[in-house]
């Protein structure tokens, strides 16, 4: 019997793994946003002294990992696994960073849900007794994402108000069996939900039902309610998706209105011309590992539910007229 399983999709950890250190690196635009004081490093330019944006992205991913390990005061030899993913084809940022770092590596892809997916899998490995310390990380970069998914940067096109701005940045966390706060207590693994959205310029609308499904499943599996949390935070639904999610959760009988927010709304100021808000793997990662983690350490929040959302599409599937399958993973992080 799987003794740690709860309900249909949730795991309750027996010895909740700890997040003993984090790091966050962001690009210049994110560094002008409302959370600028919480990031460990703000880049002066998107190129970061590299020859291409892809190289810059893998460099910030690698440096985020190194910074998190440094913050944990653990020697490199104690890091047993490295779990990472990103948005680029064949997750090259993660794979190439792993080449430099030299840890045993699990490459994962959950689009923008990667931060929560990594935290969940990392915690499972720790609580399962397969390792004592590991690093999870993810990255995204506005310029690499634009050229892969959309148009060249210098093309003079207009994006619709539903479009979102891919966050440039990388976040990493060291998860450990060492008992200290904050801890990962529950993980609810999401199902892939597709509500028929086809517009790749409206990810919030596409992903909201996946977030709702996972959040409601989490409450039902754990018998918790929104009252059990100080904050419920989705990954990158941005303004439109967040409103839709909030309303749908209410329809399912849970009122999250006074404690629900979204990383895509937190990271940018509306004046920064990002349309609906932020997106990308780094959106949930830097907000969680930068802002939320630091505020949990200070005790402002004691129980948060991170629900990172991802759209599992590609340019090929969009061009072939397919709808957008989406996923959301929930991770409960608590000060015990």
């Amino acid at each position: 019997m799987a003794g740690k399983k709860m309900g249909l999709q949730t795991i309750r950890f027996q010895n909740p793994p700890s997040i003993i250190a984090t790091s966050s690196i962001v690009g210049p635009k994110e560094g002008q946003g409302p959370l600028k004081d919480y990031f460990d490093l703000i880049l002066n330019d998107n190129m970061y002294k590299e020859k291409s944006w892809e190289k810059a992205e893998r460099k910030i991913l690698k440096e985020a990992v190194e910074m998190a390990i440094k913050n944990s005061n653990l020697p490199y030899s104690k890091i047993e696994y490295f779990i990472a993913g990103d948005l680029l084809n064949q997750i090259i940022s993660a794979g190439f960073a792993a080449r430099e770092l030299g840890f045993p590596f699990f490459g994962i892809y959950g689009a923008c849900s990667t931060a929560a997916e990594g935290l969940g899998l990392g915690a499972i490995i720790i609580d399962g007794g397969f390792a004592d310390n590991l690093v999870v990380a993810t990255s995204s970069h506005y310029c690499t994402a634009e050229r892969q998914y959309r148009f060249p940067l210098e093309l003079g096109n207009q994006s619709p108000p539903t479009a979102q701005w891919t966050v440039t940045g990388a976040g990493a966390a060291v998860i450990s069996s060492r008992p200290q706060n904050p801890r990962i207590t529950y993980v609810t693994t999401g199902k892939v939900i597709d509500m028929g959205e086809t517009n790749p310029n409206d990810m919030g609308t596409a992903m909201a039902p996946a977030a709702v499904d996972t959040i409601v499943r989490h409450f039902n599996d754990t018998n918790r309610t929104p009252d059990d949390y100080d904050l419920i935070v989705t990954g990158d639904l941005a303004s439109i998706g967040k409103d839709i999610a909030e309303e749908l959760i209410k329809q399912k009988g849970f009122d999250v209105s006074n404690k629900y927010t979204d990383c895509g709304l937190m990271i940018f100021d509306p004046q920064q011309d990002v349309h609906a808000g932020g997106s990308g793997c780094a959106c949930a990662a830097v907000v969680t590992f930068g802002y939320l983690y630091k505020e949990m350490m200070k005790g402002k929040y004691n129980r948060i539910l991170l629900v990172a959302t991802g759209a599992l599409l590609s340019t090929t599937s969009t061009q072939q007229g397919e709808t957008i399958p989406c996923i959301a993973h929930a991770v409960a992080i608590e000060n015990l």
Partner: protein, 149 residues
């Protein structure tokens, strides 16, 4: 394209009212103003060539070439995308927008090399316009030819 289920259709109807509309009037006005300004620049250049002794017909080709150069130049300076963000169709439709659509991918994919990057990706945006522009020109030309017979 697959058929949507009832649940998916209901959701699509639900979100339809949630989705903000693009600021249509503002976009149209900006397109009109900027598009008009680009045409004024074109006219000034054309008048310059005419003042140098070209007939209006002869001046057409060098005017287009100059406008293409300006579009490409502003793309290279990183200005044209900023104009395009505000102007929309106003800066896409004129020939300067055509230059922008070719130069921007050529710049962006330089790192993938001159063959598979610059040359191969150059027409990634403008390619369809050229293909269907040529095709429709041939069709219209044929119709015109047949009607004149």
């Amino acid at each position: 394209m697959q058929k949507l289920t009832k649940e998916q259709q209901d959701y699509q109807n639900f979100v339809k009212q949630k989705r903000p509309k693009p600021p249509l009037l503002k976009n149209i006005l900006m397109a009109f103003i900027v598009g008009g300004l680009i045409c004024v620049v074109g006219q000034v250049i054309m008048n310059f060539y005419i003042s140098r002794g070209m007939s209006p017909k002869e001046a057409g080709a060098p005017t287009s070439a100059t406008m293409v150069f300006l579009g490409a130049f502003l793309t290279g300076l990183g200005v044209y995308d900023k104009i395009g963000k505000r102007a929309g169709a106003g800066s896409i439709v004129p020939i300067t927008g055509f230059a922008n659509s070719i130069v921007s991918p050529a710049m962006e994919f330089k790192r993938e090399g001159y063959v598979f990057g610059v040359a191969a990706k150059m027409f990634v945006v403008a390619g369809p316009v050229i293909v269907y522009g040529m095709c429709s020109a041939v069709v219209i030309g044929l119709i015109y030819y047949i009607l004149k017979l």
